[in-house]
Symmetry: C2
Subunit: 390 residues, 2 copies
């Protein structure tokens, strides 16, 4: 009752064979743990030109995946960035070779809680589950670098991403400046704020409070803390939308009940949130959610460079376009402005654009013509400067 | 593990005898249900003058109570508004007779989920629990009116309250204009926004997801969905604070662990939130939380007056001072401005003050000298106008 989910639907995510590459030399993580095997699941769109100069790496956000511009294999829905990536789109697949990989710690084929552990003699090896070691955004980027090397791309024409994807863009530019011609961090920040951490912590506590969490051993018992994960998704989803967007979409519209029943979803916004929660658990693993939210909390690029964000970019030849949205209160414009100021202090080639939008953080995923024009223009200018064949 | 709470501590709130008055003629609620018995628990401070003209009703917020200016009987902490109510304070108990009652639906002695049901032949009658009927803010105010009549006060010198307390102030002014000389709605709104409803819904879903919710029958089994209630409190608490206040108090300070452990509280802000959650469940009942959050969601004063907020105040002689705080994003200044505009349209005697503060919604409970000066000044001016003896 009260929107309960049927546990039997949720025992585990369906096993899908995702296109991937496996690296038998593994990867040593920031936490000190060495993964013996590294698997990176990825998709590409368009063709790599003979000069290998037209590759764009797209970095996905917290609950995104590598299915940027094609039907999602679990949900059947269109790719999450089809408005931006595709033929004739701002990231034009007729011109660019687009790569997107599932982040390290994710649940769509890359090494993470859903993949078999590599530190045991058991056959077959069990899945990592919540024993998967903690990862950082820098670890995610190190794993992507292995993929890029594997694909024979020495220098990326651009790295582009929003939210957690934007954090990866910043790590790419800081760690591999010679490999990044252009960088577009969108709706992001150079570190997680106390409020960001607090919202993530609420989501984690909701998962821990679920009876099917089982002290973190849920996957060993064929259970999934789905209701807790749904609550985590609900609170996160509120932070993705602006107050104005929620008011425009739902306001105080009722579903028809004329009394203030305490337990039913009497307002449309409640039904919407319940739906967001219950559909999310069909496609996401709680341990991945914990791993990735923790990576974002941990992210603090300046701290990796002695407390000075400018030091992360000193001497860079990468061209930057920092983009924020005016109604984004999860990663407000002030955070992007801080990134732009650090780039200025580092004498980097950087522009900064705040897009006027009332759609909140999610604007980077939605139909925002000004944003799309900005991205198109920046990439075109960079392509000309790079002498990229048309 | 992971900050679990010991269920044995939490079976039920301690039974305390709160000072109260019982009305055997009951109260008919907006939902149509007639409570046969109405109990209102309340506290008073200061003395009613012979003219009975110096009474101020203080209305408490969602998780507040009647212990405004004295030690809380469960937590042992000071009263929740001792900075504002007391001798020499803005609401000066040397001059005013202050009344505060636990809201209808609360869990500190007034009729609510913790009180015995009155619709059964069972002896002793069981508690209402989640069968307690839904209440509205107007119902809360109707119950307070009964208390005021009982105390022999025909006209309140002032009604003052923040947040849900401010909603009660507005209902008082709209429903009993002749009984309210002055009204001070603080950090509030004339209706709940979609975002407000959404955050409340997350809290409700966290409670429903708790294994001890037991389909809403928890109290019959001596259980309490304490972890869910704690999560609800955590998410609500974030909305009470500004991003700046969280950054100033905690920033990204660590508790000492040098690795991004996914499950432990490694940031100070996490420990703080966990503490907020676990201490709250020692003093609050989940069914009351559901009942009262639903009352706030349901609140829409204009809707009670044909969609025109000004109609709620037409012809009023009450003097208003509407107060907001600049960094309050739960009930932003724009909401208070809307109230002030409606009062203007109704030709009411109204002033509107936005207090500059970076403390967020909670500012009305904190040390904000500008706010306290504003309140002191407004009450002094009204007292002079009313000819109140010094």
């Amino acid at each position: 009752m009260h929107g309960a989910m049927d546990q039997s639907d949720l025992l585990a995510l369906p096993r899908i064979e995702h296109a991937h590459v496996a690296f038998d030399d593994g990867l040593t993580l920031d936490c000190g743990t060495a993964l013996r095997h590294l698997t990176i699941a990825y998709r590409t769109y368009g063709s790599l030109n003979p000069e290998r100069s037209n590759a764009i790496l797209v970095c996905h956000a917290l609950t995104g995946d590598q299915y940027v511009a094609e039907r999602h294999p679990l949900t059947g829905k269109p790719g999450w960035w089809e408005m931006v990536v595709g033929p004739g789109r701002p990231i034009d697949t007729d011109r660019f070779f687009v790569i997107c990989s599932n982040v390290l710690g994710g649940c769509m084929g890359s090494s993470g809680p859903q993949t078999p552990r590599d530190d045991t003699q058991q056959t077959p090896p069990p899945r990592w589950g919540t024993d998967f070691p903690p990862v950082t955004v820098r670890d995610m980027v190190r794993a992507q670098k292995r993929l890029i090397d594997h694909l024979g791309v020495r220098r990326l024409f651009a790295v582009v991403g929003g939210s957690l994807g934007g954090m990866q863009v910043l790590e790419w530019a800081a760690n591999y400046p010679e490999c990044v011609f252009a960088a577009v961090p969108i709706a992001t920040a150079a570190h997680h704020s106390a409020q960001n951490i607090a919202f993530n912590e609420v989501g984690r506590q909701a998962i821990f409070a679920d009876p099917d969490w089982l002290g973190g051993r849920y996957w060993e018992h064929g259970r999934v803390p789905a209701r807790g994960l749904a609550v985590a998704r609900m609170v996160a989803h509120i932070t993705y939308l602006s107050e104005q967007a929620l008011t425009r979409k739902f306001g105080r519209r009722l579903r028809g009940t004329p009394v203030p029943a305490p337990f039913d979803d009497i307002f449309e916004v409640e039904s919407y949130l319940r739906h967001q929660g219950s559909s999310f658990v069909q496609r996401f693993d709680p341990a991945s959610y914990l791993t990735i939210t923790r990576a974002t909390d941990w992210f603090d690029l300046a701290a990796e460079y002695g407390g000075d964000l400018a030091a992360a970019f000193r001497g860079t030849r990468t061209r930057f376009c920092v983009i924020s949205f005016s109604s984004d209160w999860l990663y407000p414009t002030a955070e992007s402005r801080g990134i732009a100021r650090a780039l200025n202090r580092a004498a980097a080639n950087a522009s900064f654009v705040e897009i006027a939008s009332d759609k909140g953080h999610d604007a980077f995923l939605l139909d925002e013509p000004d944003f799309h024009r900005t991205l198109t223009g920046f990439l075109a200018g960079c392509a000309e400067h790079a002498g990229l064949p048309r």
